[in-house]
């Protein structure tokens, strides 16, 4: 790994990437806005425009397009589930009915538009969130939460969870190895047998977890956590003009979406209980 790379939640980014210098507040705001906008917009064409804008942001912010590919398998699976659901299990009236099914559901022109809207909405959420998480480091999470008034303990607990998940992954691998060496066939056998063996592996995992809870509570207490008074934060994030501009754009996007939605411009009549 080159020294100029920085580890984030989802990737390694060049240390010169502008996203890394963005104020954590802007990142948290972006996460919120990207998702809320996708949720508020129902009409397919505005959603398509929004999706294209998000795709364009990747090269604009020097984030490799390969990160989009990692989202593709999930989006394909969603597309599969959504398509199946709407083709065989919906009754959305439209100007043209293409076919009806014996159990009373049918597919109209609006069914297809509706399907497309759902897919676009989920895609927008995934692409927007991924863009934020690609640039998010553990310190961003702590400072981002703090900047929006959430307690330090909340962000710290999320970071701590990820730190401990690494320990448990190692434990899990060792317990699994131990079971295999006892002669357990974990990769073959029926579902019931596999479930039984999995439940056996639960005991040592849980025993380790219980011991670690005790040790971790000692460690945290000894290191003054949670802080009783004012806490100092060694990292300093300076609010720069670019942060102000980014935050302003995000807020404008959010408020204009709310306004347009209230006027009915972005709505899809009958959503979601058609």
């Amino acid at each position: 790994m080159s020294k100029s790379k920085v580890k984030t939640f989802l990737a390694y980014l060049d240390s010169s990437n502008p996203l890394l210098r963005l104020h954590p507040f802007v990142k948290v705001l972006a996460l919120l806005v990207f998702n809320l906008v996708a949720w508020l917009v129902e009409a397919p064409y505005p959603l398509l425009a929004y999706l294209l804008a998000l795709v364009f942001l990747y090269p604009f912010l020097r984030v490799s397009m390969r990160n989009l590919i990692r989202a593709l398998p999930y989006l394909l699976l969603v597309a599969q589930a959504v398509t199946l659901g709407y083709l065989v299990g919906s009754k959305i009236p439209g100007s043209v009915v293409y076919f009806s099914l014996p159990w009373g559901t049918y597919v109209s022109d609006r069914t297809l538009m509706f399907m497309a809207s759902v897919m676009l909405r989920i895609s927008c959420m995934v692409l927007g969130s991924t863009l934020v998480f690609i640039s998010l480091r553990d310190v961003d999470l702590v400072y981002g939460f703090k900047s929006v008034g959430l307690p330090f303990a909340a962000a710290f607990t999320v970071n701590l969870s990820m730190r401990f998940s690494m320990l448990f992954m190692e434990d899990y691998a060792r317990i699994r190895d131990a079971m295999v060496l006892k002669g357990a066939h974990l990769d073959s056998g029926g579902l019931v047998e596999r479930a039984r063996l999995t439940s056996l592996m639960g005991v040592p995992l849980m025993v380790l977890a219980l011991k670690r809870m005790q040790d971790l509570s000692y460690v945290l207490e000894l290191r003054g956590f949670p802080p009783k008074g004012k806490r100092t934060y060694v990292y300093e994030f300076v609010w720069r003009p670019v942060d102000a501009i980014a935050a302003a754009i995000l807020l404008i996007l959010l408020f204009s979406t709310v306004a347009l939605r209230l006027t009915g411009f972005l709505s899809f009549p009958g959503w979601p209980f058609l």
């Binding site: 996460l31 998702n35 949720w39 398998p73 999930y74 699976l77 969603v78 589930a81 959504v82 199946l84 659901g85 299990g89 919906s90 559901t105 809207s117 759902v118 909405r121 989920i122 959420m125 995934v126 692409l127 927007g128 969130s129 991924t130 303990a153 710290f156 607990t157 999320v158 701590l160 969870s161 990820m162 730190r163 401990f164 998940s165 448990f168 899990y172 579902l191 596999r194 479930a195 039984r196 999995t198 439940s199 639960g202 005991v203 995992l205 849980m206 025993v207 977890a209 219980l210 670690r212 809870m213 005790q214 971790l216 509570s217 945290l220 956590f225 949670p226 979601p272 209980f273 058609l274």
Partner: protein, 186 residues
Amino acid sequence: MVDARRIAVTAVTAGLCLPLALFAIVLVPIPGLPAASGFWIPAGFYFPLTLWFGVWGALGGHIATFLAMGYFQGFTLHVWLDGAIGDFIAPITALLIFKLMGARPDLDQKKNRNAWLIAVPVASLVCGLWVHTVNLLFGVITPPFWWVGVTTYFIGDSLAVFIVGTPLLRSLTKFVKQSPMYIWRD
């Protein structure tokens, strides 16, 4: 009130359940439903942990589910509202049922076993209702599929909690009782 012990319970529960959730997604995937599993193994852990240590265990399950599903699906509002909140509601429901029935998690008395037999399906049903209502609101499922989703969710989660969680409660509650974090004091 946040203190070191409660943070430890939440973080360790989440740390434990996160790899198990990833494992469950890979082990028993549901075709067409990404980042979902027909055998949600972490539930078998955060149910007992919530019954032993209270709401902080459920919070751990919530964080684990958000991070695990987010890793596959993207850390979206949909994932947070749907799976993560659902996995917080479920163990809390079970805990409430235990409180209401005056039961304890050691399953050594009939009353405790009955509470477990009621709490797990009820909690799984409540969770299933939540998850698929959110899915419906996002348009991910259509109204006729809502009941299908709720039913399969109810069966899958109940099975995982019974198969994985029951031996843990039966074997380890007497061990956990030594912990000052155990919430049931007679």
